[in-house]
Subunit: 241 residues, 2 copies
Amino acid sequence: MPATVTRHEPTDAARQISETLELLREHVPLKRRVVHCGERLFRAGDSFTTLYVLNTGFIKLVNSADDGREQVVGLYFKGDWLGFDGIAQGRHGCDAVACDTGEAWSFRYEDLLSAFARERRLMGLFHAAMSREIRRDRDSMLAMATLPADARVADFLRYWADTLAERGLRNDLITLRLTRAEIGNYLGMTLESVSRALSRLSRQALIRFPEKGRRDIEIPELGALRGFVAHCVAAEPAMVH
Amino acid sequence: MPATVTRHEPTDAARQISETLELLREHVPLKRRVVHCGERLFRAGDSFTTLYVLNTGFIKLVNSADDGREQVVGLYFKGDWLGFDGIAQGRHGCDAVACDTGEAWSFRYEDLLSAFARERRLMGLFHAAMSREIRRDRDSMLAMATLPADARVADFLRYWADTLAERGLRNDLITLRLTRAEIGNYLGMTLESVSRALSRLSRQALIRFPEKGRRDIEIPELGALRGFVAHCVAAEPAMVH
DNA sequence: CGCCCCGTTGATCCTGTTCAACGGTCGTGG
DNA sequence: CCACGACCGTTGAACAGGATCAACGGGGCG
């Protein structure tokens, strides 16, 4: 039995995604928009009229408080919806910043609602997507609240690999499109801690850096990463040379 | 002019809630269920068929990982929906534990979908509720990632007070139905830290303990709490060269 | 080249954890 | 009735994990 397989049947989410894209193309007027690295698809405060589905590229969601604190609260890949958090208040709650050139499809919320009346299956998929988002956020919280720094980084890589696998992509080589600072911000720690954690993980051969730039990360054995997280929880010590 | 008014027009969410309850009663078959303190409305892993709206009482949502870590990821009051995170996978993702005797209304998800077809307004409100949930989770993440312990506790009280205000209840006296351990778990810190933080806040007269048990918390001036959080944040930047 | 940004690593410091002790309240049973 | 134990909350002292401060190397680009 291969060990690098996700425990949440990976085909499931993938099928939901492709079915969603298909139904959307068929039933809802669509606009395409190309975003380049650093550009934002929408910003916090923008009035909410449309939702987006990412077709290609990679986007981070940044939440910010009135007092200037800000945090990366989500990372989005092909097939992910963006903009859910604007529905309630009629304006977007976060900035959606492209980390890469990519293409997003936009759908007017009104059009979506009309489509749901005609195509109930699409409505179900829409709800499922929001539901998955909620689930993910809660797993993030759990990680932030309960894992020590190293395990948090390991779990982050595990999550990223699982996400790739869900989409049928190779998940043994991750190309981070985030700086250490961004990762740290996402995980609730400093960039130095991220750097040290990655160094320690690589020292333990749980990951490898094929490139000098250390932006790409190889995961020889995903199960080992998972094990590391569990191990950190079970008993603190060990670890270290 | 009362000064303890929330900055997010409190009437808005309140109106959404009462309108939702009304439409639900009219259009969707409902079952009532009474839960007592400590009982759970549903548990992680239960197959998902129904969603709940809390009519009275107070419920905490507990997320747990395979390895035993668990965290309170949400707190729910009258009018709040419960169970969204089960839609995607067909099973609930968290335990919903009553902290108090209360009554929840349950609606079969299938029935809701049918009602949406007839009553689009209800569908919109449903989406808004999910959207608000996402928003909430993100604000929690932001707080956990960016605030020091004392500010986190202060912000937690601020949030609770705002929630009460949104529902038209008095918000200058909070009756916590959670132990220090539960609060700490929710905020990602230990019970001792929570206790110390509360003691310090009371020493600064930002809160008061009217009762010996220290379970009730009086907030003389909500704005001051908000200010404290902002102040904790502002304490560091500036610094240039 | 000079500058900026990115990543790493070391040294030091501090916040929050851990460990421990103590008081109060409640419910149960001798 | 009171003794007992199970919780809950508070506080102190010691400790440690991660933050902060600082220095350095490398790459891309005006």
